[in-house]
Subunit: 187 residues, 2 copies
């Protein structure tokens, strides 16, 4: 009977921990320094806010996704509430020979000059390998000294170092008028 | 009593039509020519497949979203089933002075040369106004003559003309080995 009780207690603890993790939105991965943020589970399935391209030498294509609280705030034009998270997924911008072959044929049909076609192809990129993922997590009390936002960056599931995380808020400070968020949502 | 019966019949018809529209995934908008596809309701909330940038003179940033059937096929590496829809949302690629100001400061801190910085900023774009939205709808029987896919393009909610829709399958034909879909899904 004692062993059975012990077993039930263990099961209860395991169930409790799993439930807590699910409720707190925490995964098992390592937390990023300074803000202590872990990779939010399921972020890859979040809805799209907008997209961008950053030039050489960064040369990445990036998409911003938002959890339900972030998307709701964007669409209703209301302040980001605690719990809102914006994810920035970045991918190496790479040339797709396959796409460019099709673009070339289409461009020739449309009467573009060879120079125009070269420019079109040179400026065309698809998303290649992922470079890193960043998160902005709203928590007014926890992150009071950084505008109510915590920041985190992960590459290949591992958090970047402290030096990187010291730069996040400095760069976002100029967007204070829009709650430190640069990205506007796309239609 | 007759009038009451008539009223009930009208109500039943209205309810039936609304239910049919919801079930068939059709909106009230105008159908695009040739394939007869309407804008699928809720597509803006679909999950992200990947992103890309097409160079001048098109110069757009584009994101591919997929409905649940399309995302499932991508992730499991299984054939796209009937009902799978891929959406391509395109936005004018525009320069963000606000972003570039921040990029310039960060680039200077990182020791990039003025030439490198100009190149970085000249190649950096955010998504501006929407240009148009395209859909690929899988239906093996209905679209048997075009690889099992129907195609549609809308700008500002209105379908593009027949001439545009005649070009869709021609361009997608080279991707036959991957069921006429060019875009690979991003991690």
């Amino acid at each position: 009977m004692r062993r059975k009780t012990f077993f039930l207690v263990v099961v209860a603890i395991v169930v409790g921990v799993v439930a807590y993790k699910a409720a707190s939105g925490q995964t098992d991965g390592e937390a990023a320094p300074i803000y202590g943020i872990k990779i939010p589970p399921g972020y890859r399935d979040w809805r799209m806010i907008s997209i961008a391209h950053v030039g050489e030498p960064v040369n990445d294509l990036r998409v911003k996704l938002g959890n339900d609280l972030a998307i709701k705030a964007y669409r209703e034009g209301t302040p980001f509430p605690d719990g809102a998270i914006i994810a920035r997924l970045a991918y190496k911008a790479v040339t797709s020979e396959e796409n460019n072959k099709v673009f070339r044929v289409a461009a020739e049909k449309q009467g573009l000059t060879p120079n125009q076609i070269e420019k079109l192809l040179a400026g065309s990129f698809v998303a290649g390998p992922a470079t890193n993922v960043q998160f902005m997590v709203k928590d007014l009390r926890k992150y009071a000294s950084t505008g109510g936002w915590g920041f985190a960056e992960f590459a290949d599931g591992k958090p970047s170092g402290e030096a990187v995380h010291k730069t996040c808020f400095v760069c976002h400070a100029p967007a204070k008028a829009r709650d430190f968020v640069f990205t506007r949502d796309s239609p």
